[in-house]
C-alpha cells in the first residue's frame, strides 16, 4: 500500500491523475472504518489533510466557496451565521470527535443517502466544484448524487469545494434518530427560504436512493405564499396548506424499509418535519419583516 501526501492542490491533482485508484482520505471518519474492518484495501491512500487550499473558505462572486476539507466543527464556528441550515445539520453529525475531523467534502465523497450535509446543500441550491488535471467543473448538488453511495466524480477527479449563497432567509434542518447524537438519520429534512426570489428550497435525506429535493412541494408552497402576497404581508399560513406541503414532501421521497425504520414511518416523519420546519422558518421570517 502506498501513502501519498500532496502538499498542494496542484500536486494532489497530478497524483490523482497518475494513481486513479488511490483512495482520497480527508477526516477519515468514513474511510478508516472501512480500512479498520478490512472492507477495503486500496492500492494507495491520497491524504488531503496537508493541502491548505482545501481547508479555507471565502467569497466568490457573492457565493461562499467552502473548501472540501473544512470540518463540521469549523463550519459551525466560522460559518454558522451565514449557513445556518448547514450548521444545524453539522451539529447533529456524530460527536465532537467526529465533527472535529469529518468534512463536507468527505460527506459528498461518500454520497450516502443519509449524509447530513446533503439536504441543506440541496435546499440552498449548492454547487459542487470538481477538478482534475484536465480542468474544473461545477455541478449543481442535485446532479452530483447518482445513486446510493454513488456520485458524479470521475476517477481522476477530486472535490475542491462547494459553493453556496450565504443564507437569504431563515433555514431549518431536522433529523429523526434514536438519540440526539451519534445517529445515522432515519430520515431528515432541510428547508431554506429565499424571500428576495420568492423561493422555498427543500432537501430530503435518508428516504430515497440519493438525497433529493421536493420540487412539487416547493412550487405548491411558493404558490400559496404568492397568491396572498405573503412575502410582503406575512401572515400565518393556513393549516390545510401546511398539511398539503408536508404531504408533497413525503410524496417526493422513495423510502425503503430497513433496520432504521419502515418506509411508511419515513413518509409520515417527513410530512411532520416538513410542516414543522416550514412553520419555524416562516415564523422567523414574519418576526424579522
Amino acid at each position: 500500500m502506498d501513502f501519498l501526501q500532496p502538499a498542494t492542490w496542484t500536486e494532489a491533482l497530478a497524483m490523482k491523475a497518475a494513481h486513479p485508484d488511490a483512495l482520497p482520505i480527508a477526516g477519515g471518519t468514513d474511510v478508516m472504518v472501512e480500512i479498520n474492518f478490512d472492507r477495503q484495501r486500496p492500492p494507495a491512500f491520497l491524504d488531503l489533510t496537508r493541502i491548505a487550499e482545501l481547508s479555507g473558505w471565502g467569497l466568490d462572486d457573492g457565493m461562499l466557496r467552502v473548501g472540501a476539507g473544512v470540518t463540521y466543527a469549523r463550519l459551525i464556528g466560522e460559518l454558522g451565521d451565514r449557513l445556518p441550515g448547514l450548521a444545524m445539520a453539522s451539529r447533529t453529525v456524530g460527536s465532537p470527535q467526529i465533527r472535529n475531523r469529518g468534512t463536507v467534502g468527505g460527506n459528498l465523497g461518500s454520497a450516502s443517502p443519509a449524509g447530513d450535509a446533503h439536504p441543506p446543500l440541496l435546499a440552498s441550491r449548492a454547487i459542487v466544484e470538481l477538478a482534475s488535471t484536465a480542468g474544473t467543473r461545477r455541478l449543481p448538488a442535485h446532479e452530483f448524487f447518482l445513486g446510493p453511495k454513488r456520485n458524479a466524480m470521475r476517477k481522476d477527479e477530486l472535490i475542491r469545494a462547494f459553493l453556496v449563497e450565504p443564507a437569504q432567509g431563515p433555514q431549518q434542518f431536522s433529523k429523526v434518530g434514536t438519540r440526539n447524537a451519534m445517529v445515522i438519520a432515519v430520515c431528515s429534512f432541510a428547508l431554506a427560504l429565499e424571500p428576495e426570489r420568492r423561493r422555498v428550497g427543500t432537501g430530503i435525506g435518508s428516504a430515497a436512493p440519493t438525497p433529493v429535493t421536493a420540487p412539487e412541494a416547493e412550487r405548491f408552497i411558493e404558490g400559496v405564499l404568492g397568491e396572498h402576497d405573503m412575502w410582503q404581508k406575512p401572515a400565518p399560513v393556513a393549516e390545510s396548506a401546511l398539511v398539503r406541503f408536508g404531504e408533497l414532501v413525503a410524496a417526493a421521497a422513495r423510502p425503503i424499509d430497513d433496520v432504521r425504520g419502515t418506509a411508511a414511518y419515513r413518509r409520515h416523519a417527513l410530512a411532520v418535519m416538513a410542516r414543522r420546519s416550514f412553520v419555524w422558518a416562516w415564523n422567523e421570517y414574519r418576526g424579522a419583516v
Partner: protein, 149 residues
Amino acid sequence: MNGRPRVAEDVWEGTNLLGVLREHMDLPGSKNACEQGECGSCSVYLDGRLVCACLVLAGQAQGRDIRTVEGLASAGVLHPVQEAFLEAGAVQCGFCTPGLVVATHDLLTRTPQPTTMEIREALAGNICRCTGYAKIIDAVHLAASRMRP
C-alpha cells in the same frame, strides 16, 4: 508525541494512530473498543483538537502534535480531571476512562463551568457500559469546581 518527537518504525501504511500509540510507542492508555469512532475510548488530541485515534491514518499524524491521556498527568501527579473521576466513583471497569478523561479535559479547556446539558453533549461520543453516566457527570462538575481559577 506528548511534547517530544518520537519515531515509529515499520508502521504499515493502513495502520491507524491508535495502533501506532499502543503497538509502536508503548502508550496503551488510549483504548480500542470499537475501531469505528463510536465509543470514544481512543480519544486523543491531534493539533489541539479532540479526535478518535482509531480514525486517523498513521501517516496523517506524522509531524503533528499528539497529546494522549498519558500526557495529562505530570510527574506522577494525577490531573484534577483524573482525581475527580476517582473521587466521584466514575470509574468501574475503567475501559472508557482514558477517553472520557481526555474528552472532559477538552470540554473544561473550552468551557470551564459547563452545565449538565453541555457535559452530556460534549461526552456524547464516549460510551461507558458500566457506570450509567451519573457519576461521570458528577466527576466533570467536581473537576470543573476544582479547576476554577
